[in-house]
């Protein structure tokens, strides 16, 4: 009897142990099980799948929709359809218009919801279920950093979309992640001389900052730049993301003695804080003998629409604008405009360029193996993509190129003419040593 009981207990325990072991084994994603002889999601048939991870819901859904349009256009061009877009101007270029390495490009899409956990889940799904060999997209630095880290672990390439925080290619950089978009350090370096020439050296700034990685990064970069100019910083106040009503943060600015308000906000927060700052009469004030000024270091044309007339005359920076006249920008605007009937945003531009750069790197490497692709992208110098001569710096996977200083257009000639390019700041003025922002790339996951 006792033996029977013992047997039963052992069997039950054994069964439970076995079940747990089996469940654990089943739960381990296949992509995280390394295989020394192959790489993750090596294309086997006649197609290769790319994963477009963009915000399809939430506050940045319009920006995400524009990113997705750009990706679809890029796929079309890669497969030899349409007018070819930037494939006509990119130099050097190894793409042939027959897909990538002869394989037709297909894609899967995911919704980041502009939430790190949702973005990681959708990227994971595209890697594991859809067989995506590369993940790209996003409209937030928090999301970019989270997805970049996942791609490093999974052993696939991540071509970042719109992400502006220094950390993406600074302290959180990864060997598998690449960023074409500029960063807050570059915004500061580009904006500084313009702020000096327009507003002088004796200014006192008050920062309102979105309380997350991008906001902190931008506040730091702009403070560095303006303090080097001789400006004082009165205060830097962190505001919760999506605060809606910023009046309680704006009223202290009124009598603070500051004569410049720097809004380290993006998207809806920028629209709301700027609208409310103007309502409180900040732009009508004269402080310390100076006309009060507002600066929005990162501009987006899509978001500028939400701010209406309040954006007019305000300085900021942008990665790219549809009004540029170089051959690459014109080719992209023509292609995108013909397809969709309106101009592309900077988010659409960077996503389109990233897709072509990835495909080109695969052609150069002769493989989809991420380690080969990484080698091809590191230090890759190119031109004709709308930002002048550009380089993917090997040390941090950050693209270095000209940066645009823009101003809200006070005499728009059309509904799209919201930003006026004030200055194209050359690459050498915004360059910094790779060691400045810290971080370690790590090694290629498949090496």
């Amino acid at each position: 009897m006792s033996n029977d009981k013992k047997f039963t207990e052992l069997s039950r325990r054994g069964f439970i142990k076995s079940s747990i072991a089996a469940a654990s084994a089943a739960a381990v994603p296949t992509v995280f099980v390394s295989n020394a002889n192959a790489y993750v999601n090596a294309p086997k048939g006649k197609t290769v799948t790319l994963g477009f991870n963009v915000p399809q819901t939430g506050a940045y859904a319009d920006e995400g929709a524009d990113e997705l349009r750009a990706y679809k256009l890029a796929v079309k061009h890669l497969n030899g359809e349409g007018d070819g877009g930037l494939m006509n101007t990119m130099k050097p270029m190894a793409l042939k218009g027959n897909g990538i390495l002869g394989k037709k490009v297909t894609y899967a899409t995911g919704d980041t919801q502009t939430k790190s956990d949702a973005a990681r889940a959708s990227a994971k799904r595209m890697i594991e279920k859809d067989g995506a060999v590369m993940i790209t997209g996003g409209s937030s630095s928090g999301v970019a950093i989270a997805v970049q880290s996942l791609c490093q672990e999974a052993g696939v390439i991540f071509m970042a979309g719109l992400t502006h925080s220094n950390d993406t290619t600074g302290k959180d950089k990864r060997r598998h992640g690449f960023r074409h978009f500029f960063n807050t350090d570059m915004s500061g370096s580009a904006l500084g001389p313009v702020l000096e020439s327009e507003f002088g050296k004796e200014r006192t700034a008050y920062h309102l900052t979105a309380d997350y990685t991008w906001g902190w990064s931008q506040e730091g970069s702009i403070k560095d730049t303006t303090e080097k100019l001789g400006w004082k910083t009165k205060a830097a106040v962190r505001t919760p993301l999506g605060a809606g009503d910023f009046s309680q943060y704006i009223t202290p600015v009124l009598n603070s003695g500051a004569d410049v308000l720097v809004l380290n906000h993006y998207g809806k927060d920028m629209v709301n804080s700027l609208t409310q700052a103007v309502q409180f009469g900040l732009r009508d004030k004269n402080v310390n003998g100076n006309d009060f000024q507002i600066v929005v270091p990162l501009f987006s044309r899509l978001m500028a629409q939400g701010a209406g007339k309040n954006i007019q005359g305000i300085y900021g920076t942008t990665n790219w604008n549809w009004s540029l006249k170089d051959a690459g920008s014109q080719a992209f605007v023509k292609s995108f405009g013909a397809e969709y009937g309106f101009p592309p945003s900077q988010a659409a531009h960077t996503c389109y360029v990233q897709t072509l750069l990835y495909a080109n790197a695969c052609e150069l490497a002769g493989t989809f193996d991420p380690c080969g692709v990484i080698t091809a992208l590191e230090g890759f110098k190119f031109d004709g993509m709308g930002n002048g001569a550009t380089e993917y710096r090997a040390e941090d996977h950050q693209c270095f190129k000209d940066v645009l200083v823009v101003q809200g257009n006070d005499k728009p000639s059309s509904q799209f003419d919201l930003l006026k390019v004030v200055k194209e700041v050359p690459r050498k003025q915004v360059e910094y040593p790779a060691s400045k922002l810290g971080g370690e790339l790590g090694s290629c996951n498949n090496a």
């Binding site: 009598n255 609208t275 309040n310």
Partner: protein, 332 residues
Amino acid sequence: MEAVLLQVLNGLDKGGAYALIALGLTLVFGTLGVVNFAHGALFMLGAFVAVSVQKILTISSKVRDESVTFFEAYKETPYLEIWWGDTGRAIIDYSVPISLLIAIPIMLLIGLLMERGLIKYFYKREHADQILVTFGLAIVIQEIIKANFGANPIPQAAPEIVAGSADIGSLFGFEGIVYPWWRMMYLLFSLSIIGGVFAFLHFTTFGMVVRAGMHDRETVGLLGINIQRRFTIVFGIAAVVAGLAGVMYTPILPPDYHMGMDFLVLSFVVVVVGGMGSLGGAVAAGFLLGILQSFSSMTEVKAVIPGIDQIIIYLIAVVILLFRPRGLLGKD
């Protein structure tokens, strides 16, 4: 001192918005016994009535910008401006006040349709069911608005005459206290609407019957009064109040599809703190929490307790509910 006064003003106008939404919420709960999570969507729908009116008033003649060759870009001039010059410009300038008038019948209709078409089927269901179905309805309304108007905020301007700020400090002998005219109007508007609703409930026969119904529905029914029809009208009135609050808020916060949900959560806290079903409690809690939220955002306060501005409302709610489980003015 100036900073304190400014934060009081901030709190009052923010509190006005909370109080208006909470008033409707608690009115519906007090009469119909329904926890309506779609009430924030009514606030948002009101705001989008203003957006729609502005779009209609600014239907424009389009002159193609010939310098743009790859897509069609236009310089737009509203027809009202072309036809009537300054008068046309003035009509467009007053699109938000005009929207207030238009929103009243629209929101009343939406409220009645919502109550007759969906809410009435959930009167006798548990609160959890009511929350689920009204939350689902709110999401559906949100998505419809997003599909038609996009996800980005759409700016609405206050009339030029009240677009700037008033130097109200000079009235009290202080320097540097300026406050936007529109926000002061919003505060007055909130107080007027709240006063109007209270007057309606206390000084009209209709209101008296509704209050009697809130107190003892069955007895009022036994007197031969169709209390249900009156409650349906109350739901419509609550929808109008939320909608008008939304219209008036558009120059302060450019509306987007999610604005209702942003306000709803805080307004529910306001209702709970005020006491479920208590109209006076909702108003008092709305203003109280609005002011406390403003004060907690002051740099001096945040230096002592970092992050307090993000949790203050919930913290106060916990403290009040610990000592008064039925809220400030809730009855046992």
